[in-house]
């Protein structure tokens, strides 16, 4: 026996449920499923499709509401939910962005973003500025503000590397330790401005005398060091040149002070020195010998 066609009343009742469900969707409410069993067979495919749509929208709402608040931990909508695809893609991009930001926080400034439209350029620009500032800070932390040569920290950062290279390759390495004599007198009698000027003069003179690859540093106060790939004989020659340049400076410059450096040298010997501090300490000792000893020690006629 064939089933009777649906009455107009049954159809109207069913369509009213569908209309109410769609109205709910359009006003961002979450409707209940339409009861398929209560509807005539003729319209059941429409009801099934409507319920599928409701399920998809419900899934999307459950996903994007926390996503809009930055919560990336909500379960992803089901695989066949086409409507959710753009939101899942956004979730993927935000997850990657979050991971990249965490990487940057750990100092990996190579991270770049190219999948977030205008935000990408702004983000990349921020990373570049961060990287540049960190580099500026790093350099600043290694440089002596007053003289422009390395400070103590910078000297030991660069010097440790040079020491390791010398150990590995067996090349010569020598520290020249210089102490500006009469610094206290310059400060006391001429003022600190002249004292600062004298320190800058020494730094400039050292840089002009040594090789580009040598490390020039002010360890503090009136104490300077030069570290370079020099043999003991080459270091002695360097000290002579330094004194010759000091003499030329003192003769030529119209300064209210004269520059005089006491110098000491120490060459790296793996069996004798284990650390850079020990090598610098030995050069420092030698410098004191110089201070107490023969003033013509480094002269050309010596």
């Amino acid at each position: 026996m064939s089933k009777q066609p649906a009455t107009a009343g049954e159809l109207r009742a069913c369509l009213a449920q569908v209309t109410a469900a769609i109205d709910s969707l359009l006003t961002a409410k979450t409707p209940a499923d339409v009861d398929v069993g209560s509807c005539p067979a003729e319209v059941q495919p429409v009801i099934v499709a409507t319920n599928r749509l409701i399920a998809f929208v419900r899934e999307i709402q459950d996903f994007i509401t926390p996503l809009a608040k930055g919560d990336l931990s909500s379960p992803l909508p089901s695989r066949g939910n086409y409507l959710a695809s753009p939101f899942k893609e956004l979730h993927s991009r935000l997850s990657e962005l979050t991971r990249q930001a965490a990487q940057i926080a750990q100092g990996d400034y190579s991270q770049r973003v190219d999948f977030m439209g205008e935000f990408s350029a702004a983000f990349n620009s921020m990373v570049e500025v961060l990287a540049a500032r960190e580099e500026e800070l790093r350099v600043a932390s290694l440089i002596d503000d007053l003289t422009g040569v390395s400070n103590r920290r910078g000297f030991f950062v660069l010097g440790e590397q040079a020491l390791r290279d010398a150990e590995r390759s067996g090349t010569a390495l020598t520290v020249v330790y210089g102490d500006l004599d009469g610094m206290k007198a310059i400060n006391d009698h001429l003022g600190h401005e002249h004292g600062d000027h004298a320190l800058r003069d020494v730094a400039e003179l050292l840089r002009a005398t040594v090789r580009d690859a040598d490390i020039v540093a002010r360890l503090g106060g009136d104490e300077f060091v030069v570290l370079g790939r020099s043999t003991p004989a080459e270091a002695t020659e360097l000290c002579r040149r330094l004194h010759a340049n000091l003499d030329a400076f003192n003769a030529g410059e119209d300064r209210p002070y004269k520059l005089k450096l006491s110098l000491g040298t120490a060459s790296f010997e793996p069996r004798r020195f284990r650390t850079l501090e020990e090598l610098v300490g030995e050069a420092d000792q030698q410098m004191y010998e110089d201070k107490r000893g023969d003033p013509t020690r480094w002269s050309e006629t010596d």
Partner: protein, 182 residues
């Protein structure tokens, strides 16, 4: 010397099997259109499916992908890098070779459990809707990469695919349970 048609019980593939492209293609060069790659892949899949069925075909493609991932990792990538650097290196390489845009959606490095997505996937992006995940080869490839990098076997399963309505392919990557089929 390579022997492509000798009987074998396990993979004998080596990177040298790809040949000297500069020598062999002095005029046409190293690159070919994506459609040509897919023509090979999907006709092969078609014939394999007709002969062995869809499940076995997926297994074959996954196994081939695993060999590719392993060899790719050993021959193209730097496996001495730390995990974060390795991921960045992998992302850049996959992009440069136009295999896809890899993103790491979740990572539990301690447990070696990851969710990765691949956008603009060489294998599937743009395929017609079929309500199936089809990137069996990619599953193997990703598994092979992780295996070669970590030295541990991995199970990789695709949970979203362009063919199933997604806009990125999404893969769950986790250490293989002992005795399970990868």
């Amino acid at each position: 010397m390579s022997a492509f048609k000798t009987e074998r019980d396990e993979s004998q593939f080596t990177w040298a099997d790809l040949g000297d492209l500069a020598l062999g293609r002095p005029n046409l060069g190293r690159d070919a259109p994506v459609a040509v790659y897919r023509l090979l892949e999907f006709t092969l899949r078609d014939v394999l499916t007709a002969r062995y069925g869809p499940t076995e075909t997926s297994e074959i493609l996954r196994a081939a992908g695993r060999v590719a991932g392993r060899e790719f990792c050993h021959n193209v990538l730097d496996t001495t890098l730390g995990f974060d650097e390795f991921v960045a290196h992998l992302q850049q390489t996959l992009r440069e070779l136009k295999i896809g845009v890899l993103r790491l959606e979740k990572a539990d490095v301690a447990k070696l459990e990851f969710t990765v997505t691949l956008a603009e996937d060489l294998d599937c992006s743009g395929l017609p809707y079929s309500d199936e995940v089809v990137c069996d080869y990619d599953e193997g490839l990703i598994g092979g990469l992780f295996e070669a990098y970590t030295g541990r076997p991995f199970t990789v399963r695709e949970t979203d695919c362009w063919a199933s309505g997604g806009r990125v392919c999404r893969f769950d990557v986790r250490p293989a349970e002992p005795g399970t089929r990868r």
